[in-house]
């Protein structure tokens, strides 16, 4: 069984006034079969956590470790991390003009699986996966994310999640900007990925509504660049009622 361990992770971003620390000691362990929700107000550093784990060059990890089955992910290149079994569903998927979705998916699957998928089974696999997410087949010929609506981009992130089947998936606000139907379709896609029980999910969200579709095992409140409280699903209910105010104030007091 796989394990993803984040240990005392500190990360900063370069600003005009020098480096600014955003992650201030994140500790979290996710095991295969578990889904952890990370909830927090805007600007708390949730997305930075996602990007730092994936290896975005904008964020500098200053100390700490991210271990995937004991291997230090932070020493790996971005693409090595993906091949090792990490996946980041992005909040704002990037448009890549001139690269078709079909070509992109096949290139990614070839890289992650270590060999090119057999063409005949691959075509069917992609077709079925697209149908599951209510994605029209014509998207295969379109450039990656180019001109896609917000909802279409998120469906394609979950499409990739299903096809690449990573050990651990970080979903960064995959629910934001989705209408009710799209949220249901996307959540079903995530649940199919979880169904094997051999994969772990780190679900980053601002809102509790996606948790009605994807039931978390653990809920963490993120404020001021670290986890300030952890609990079961009932913690999400409290956030739904009372918001983040209590945690933000406590964090500000601690910083002062």
């Amino acid at each position: 069984m796989s394990t993803l361990e984040i240990k005392d992770l500190h990360a900063s971003v370069e600003t005009e006034d020098g480096p600014k620390e955003i992650l201030r000691g994140v500790n979290l362990t996710v095991r295969a079969g578990e889904t952890h929700a990370i909830m927090g107000p805007n600007g708390s550093g949730k997305s930075t956590l996602a990007y730092a784990v994936a290896g975005h060059p904008k964020y500098q990890v200053t100390s700490g470790e991210v271990l995937l089955d004991g291997e230090n992910v932070l020493e790996m290149e971005v693409d090595e991390r993906a091949r090792a079994g990490l996946f980041l569903a992005m909040q704002y998927p990037v448009e890549v003009p001139g690269v078709s979705m079909a070509n992109f998916l096949r290139s990614a699957a070839t890289a992650v699986r270590g060999e090119a998928p057999k063409l005949r089974t691959w075509v069917k696999e992609v077709k079925d996966a697209m149908a599951d997410l209510d994605i029209s087949s014509e998207f295969a010929d379109r450039s990656v994310n180019e001109g896609f609506s917000g909802g279409e981009k998120k469906r394609h992130e979950v499409l990739q999640l299903g096809l690449l089947n990573p050990k651990f998936a970080v979903l960064d606000e995959t629910d934001s900007g989705l209408d009710v139907d799209a949220l249901r379709v996307v959540s079903e896609g995530v649940n199919r990925y979880r169904a094997s029980g051999e994969t772990g999910v780190l679900l980053i969200t601002h809102y509790t509504r996606i948790l009605n579709h994807i039931t978390p095992d653990r809920v963490h409140v993120f404020a001021g660049g670290r986890i300030v409280e952890s609990g079961g699903p009932e913690l999400a209910d409290e956030l739904e009622r009372n918001g983040y105010q209590r945690f933000v104030q406590a964090e500000q007091k601690a910083l002062a």
């Binding site: 693409d79 990037v94 890549v96 001139g98 992109f104 290139s107 990656v144």
Partner: protein, 401 residues
């Protein structure tokens, strides 16, 4: 625009003809002549020469080029001599052939020098629906200079595909006339696949007949200095010209594209899209210049035109100059627009692809291939398209960009 330039300061001399250091007010007032001596010798600060490194032009512009060699021109189809093929007539004609000049008149000193110096011209006439024709123009060899002249013409309602390949060494100044008869359709690919020493200053003169369609793709890859000046005019209404271009410029290489689409006739269309990639593996700059002039004259009602230049900067030491100009003398048009973007390689795109496991080098190739693919994918000759795609891959291998 005043017709009297006397009394202007000396540095404005020649301004009226667009040869001076001050830009002319309208592309429609460009000076034109078949006579080289009618043009002043450019000094490098003139509007139409200011981007071109004249020192590297091998004297094509100032009378010092000897023009004592000839470009070797061959016309083939499917690898065989094309003369005698159905619908293809290949002629070598003397300077006094009445058809020469029909496509247009030189508008700069190098083009006029080529016109004044060429010994004989090649005229390829296409009739009916001939097989695709390849015209190979080979430079005169290292250290030599040559003046060339080529005319490609169609008969009414012809549908043809022509590839013009430039290769070899030396310095070549030439004029290429593309004359499309009424209702004809020409798909044209012009490649610049020169050796590293080569200098090519080419003037292309397009004349689009009534209801005729041109689908042109320019591919600039090789050469030390390549400067292609393309002018499109319409002989009647209903003409449609698509001018696509790709260029890949390396360290120390200068590639220049100067386009003028002159809409003087009603109900014509033009679409210009040039995409260039720049890379350098040394301190020598890779340089690309794109000048896109579109002129819609008062009579050209219901014109539809768009021009777009995109430059992709892959490394340090790269310079792209992009100057779109749109002049509109009538409000009665269907549409007109222009755009230009120059950007570095997009790190976010790279991150996205790599975050899906795709190795960095492959991710870069995907992005650059995608960048050029929009244009190369339209080349309908599979062998040529594959060869050009491979050439782009080979370019990428130079810097590992």
């Amino acid at each position: 625009m005043t017709s009297d330039v006397a009394g202007l300061a000396p540095e404005l001399k020649g301004a009226k003809e667009g040869q001076g250091e001050v830009p002319i007010a309208s592309a429609g007032e460009r000076f034109q002549s078949f006579d080289v001596d009618a043009f002043e010798i450019p000094g490098g600060r003139e509007e139409n020469w200011r981007f071109t490194p004249l020192r590297r032009l091998k004297g094509l512009h100032d009378g010092t080029a000897a023009f004592d060699a000839k470009p070797a021109v061959s016309v083939t189809s499917g690898g065989r001599d094309a003369s005698g093929l159905d619908g293809v007539t290949v002629e070598t004609v003397a300077r006094d052939d009445a058809r020469l000049g029909e496509g247009g008149t030189p508008a700069d000193r190098v083009a006029a020098a080529a016109w004044s110096a060429f010994a004989e011209a090649t005229v390829v006439t296409l009739d009916g629906t001939p097989d695709p024709v390849t015209i190979t123009v080979e430079g005169p060899g290292v250290g030599a200079s040559a003046a060339g002249h080529l005319q490609v013409r169609t008969t009414p309602h012809t549908q043809a595909t022509v590839v013009v390949e430039h290769k070899g060494s030396g310095a070549l100044a030439d004029n290429t006339e593309i004359v499309l008869a009424d209702g004809s359709q020409l798909t044209l690919v012009v490649t610049e696949e020169w050796a590293d020493d080569a200098v090519h200053a080419g003037a292309e003169h397009y004349l689009i007949g009534r209801d005729a369609t041109l689908r042109a793709t320019a591919v600039q890859l090789g050469g030390d200095l390549v400067r292609v000046t393309s002018t499109v005019r319409y002989a009647g209404p209903g003409g449609d010209a698509e001018l696509l271009g790709v260029a890949f410029t390396d360290a120390g290489q200068h590639l220049e594209q100067r386009l003028l689409v002159d809409h003087a006739v009603a109900n014509c269309r033009s679409n210009v899209l040039y995409k260039n990639a720049l890379q350098s593996d040394s301190n020598d700059a890779a340089h690309v210049v794109w000048i896109g002039d579109v002129l819609i004259r008062a009579a050209a009602e219901n014109t539809e035109t768009f021009e777009f230049n995109r430059n992709l900067v892959l490394t340090e030491h790269a310079r792209a100059d992009s100057v779109p100009n749109l002049e509109i003398e009538t409000g009665e048009i269907a549409g007109a627009g222009h755009a230009s973007t120059t950007g570095r390689f997009d790190d976010e795109q790279l991150f996205y692809l790599r975050s899906r496991g795709i190795p960095e080098e492959q991710a870069r190739r995907l992005v650059v291939r995608g960048f050029f693919g929009e244009i190369l994918n339209k080349i309908t000759l599979p062998e040529l398209r594959e060869r050009l795609e491979a050439a782009v891959e080979a370019e990428l291998a130079i810097t590992g960009a």
